[in-house]
Amino acid sequence: MSLFKLVWLELLHRKSQVLSGLLAITLGIGVIVGIQSVTRVSEIAVAIRLDNLGANILVLPQAASVDDYYTADIDAPTMPEDFVERILTSTLPGVDNLSPKLTRRTEVNGRKVVLTGITPANEIASKPVWQSAGLVGADLTLTCDPNSEANKSLGYKDERLQRKAVESLPEGSSIVGSAAAVRLGLSEGSTFTVPERSEDATAPPTEREFQVAKVLPETGTIDDDRIFVNLKDAQAVFGIHDQVSAIEIMGCCNAISAGLLSQLRNILPDTRITTVKQLVSTQLDTNRLMQKVSLSFLVIVLIVGAISIGNYIWANVNERRKEIGILRMIGAPKSNIYGMLFGKAIILGLVGGVLGYLLGTAAGVILGPELAGLNVPPVPIYLLWAVLLSLAAALLGTLVPAWLAGRIEPFANMQEV
């Protein structure tokens, strides 16, 4: 006979009580594991959707202002196109897409309009709204999620993973913003010309003809008033070869907060690098919100679990007053009584943690696709957390009942004194 066996025999003796106590902790842990599993997948989905909003970092020439980026002045500074290559070869984590562009004002049909040269596959990839018009861009890989391959099996629609590359926006083709198309009287298939600056400054400008490949739907952005052509065409039209006026970057917001900007500045010291603050702060705020929701559930379950176990142990102690009195009478020190109660709590915590993990994981796997439209895979590391959390709740809940049990007098088993 040992104290452990005594605890074990007592557990077997009060099976229904043990089962109800176990049920309480199993449900509590199951809820947190289930929620955490769904939240984890949701966080990834939300992060990707936020990243889908588009470029959130601007690389501009050192002398340029953000205003230049929007107004596209004829004399706005430019920078070498090979900066793009420099970023690409640096393999910085968190850079999901690069869209170099050259933007200048020009004239079409006698009206002023902004012409932007783009690398079409990358540009389209970074603009979800464009894709609703049937344009498809480059295949992207998520750098902010180390398990990007696994994302494909999560069930949500990651637009970037689904985009296919347009081989090229052929030279001579263009994509026209909705407002520009109306203003210039352009439609798909129609043509227009823009003046082309000759290499020889003294030579008169020539005209270059473009055909409208696509008219974009209204986006509510500066894109509505622009005409987009191949970067090479734009460089030729404006006579600025191998130069760009901006590089738009889709950066993983977590990477931005981890110092992506300073790493970019190290690579491109002669540029001005800035974030689209509203976008980045929205992404970061949303991530923080998701984390707070998870933490809130964790705290609630810890408290509720501790109360449930505490209630069970308390009832158990009250029911066993006589029995504890017997043990004290025959010489059990208080430490043995504490040990027996905490021993029972540990057994319940361990079993409840494992069962709770299984229950929560099963609920996530089964209900995730039904309720949240997400495939929720099991997360093995949660087993460790579930057991630790369950043990913490069980031990926390046992503190007060154990203290009360220690106060039971050794003559509590007697009928009268």
Binding site: M1, S2, L3, L6, L9, E10, L12, H13, K322, E323, G325, I326, L327, R328, M329, I330, G331, A332, P333, K334, S335, E409, P410, F411, N413, M414, Q415, E416, V417
Partner: protein, 236 residues
């Protein structure tokens, strides 16, 4: 002297005022005696017994066990004193309901040096000695009340105590069973030389003792030592 009680008083604090359960009790108990304590309900006899077993602390006075000051011991020291030197037999048997007879008797051995098999063998032998060799694996509810009290007595002797404290051990038993239990206690007292202190309402049961103490209103009013013990008969 196995027990030496000097000027021990015990006062309980109740809502309607303090109650003196013991008042300046002096009592010396030589080793190996069968002591019976009688008195009316509320006279303080159970309080005296609990004090002797280190289950409650006197409000004032001194108590010595083989010269060791019980009144000055900590809770843990008193617990060690009880498990090493005292066996208890209570009116309500005080058996753990989910343990078999054998496991109940093994209970005081949990804190000893014996291994599981030695514990088991010793408990089985004691149960055999009280006539329950065939009931070792029965739960208390599967035993008669007489058998339950025998299990309680077996448990009291499991750790080879110097002192057995019995509180109304025959209070719930019919006269025939009472006689059996008292005879068993008497035999164990004689065979093992274990000192027995028994509280009882019954004058007949009290005559089993060779030291007889009568207590009333918290004071010892009669104390007869070395009287010849009488066999208990039906009706005790």
């Amino acid at each position: 002297m196995i027990l030496d009680v000097r000027k021990v008083s015990k006062q309980y604090l109740h809502a309607d005022g303090p109650v003196d359960a013991l008042r300046d009790v002096d009592l010396q108990i030589p080793e190996g005696r069968f002591v019976t304590i009688t008195g009316p309900s509320g006279s303080g006899k159970s309080t005296l017994l609990l004090s002797l077993g280190g289950l409650i602390r006197p409000t004032s006075g001194e108590m010595f066990f083989h010269g060791a000051a019980l009144h000055a011991m900590s809770d843990n020291e008193l617990a060690a004193f009880r498990r090493e030197h005292v066996g208890f037999v209570m009116q309500n048997f005080s058996l753990v309901p989910y343990l078999t007879a054998l496991q109940n008797v093994m209970l005081p051995l949990v804190w000893g040096q014996d291994g599981k098999e030695a514990q088991r063998a010793k408990a089985a032998s004691i149960l055999d000695g009280v006539g329950l060799g065939g009931r070792v694996n029965h739960l208390p509810r599967e035993l008669s009340i007489g058998q339950q009290q025998r299990v309680a007595i077996a448990r009291a002797f499991a750790n080879d105590p110097d002192l057995i404290l019995a509180d109304e051990p025959t209070g719930n038993l019919d006269p025939s069973l009472s006689n059996d239990i008292l005879t068993l206690l008497d035999e164990l007292n004689r065979e093992h030389g274990t000192t027995v202190v028994m509280v009882t309402h019954s004058p007949e049961a009290a005559r089993r003792g060779n030291v007889r103490v009568h207590i009333d209103d918290g004071r010892i009013v009669e104390h007869e030592d070395s009287v010849a013990a009488e066999p208990v008969v039906a009706g005790a």
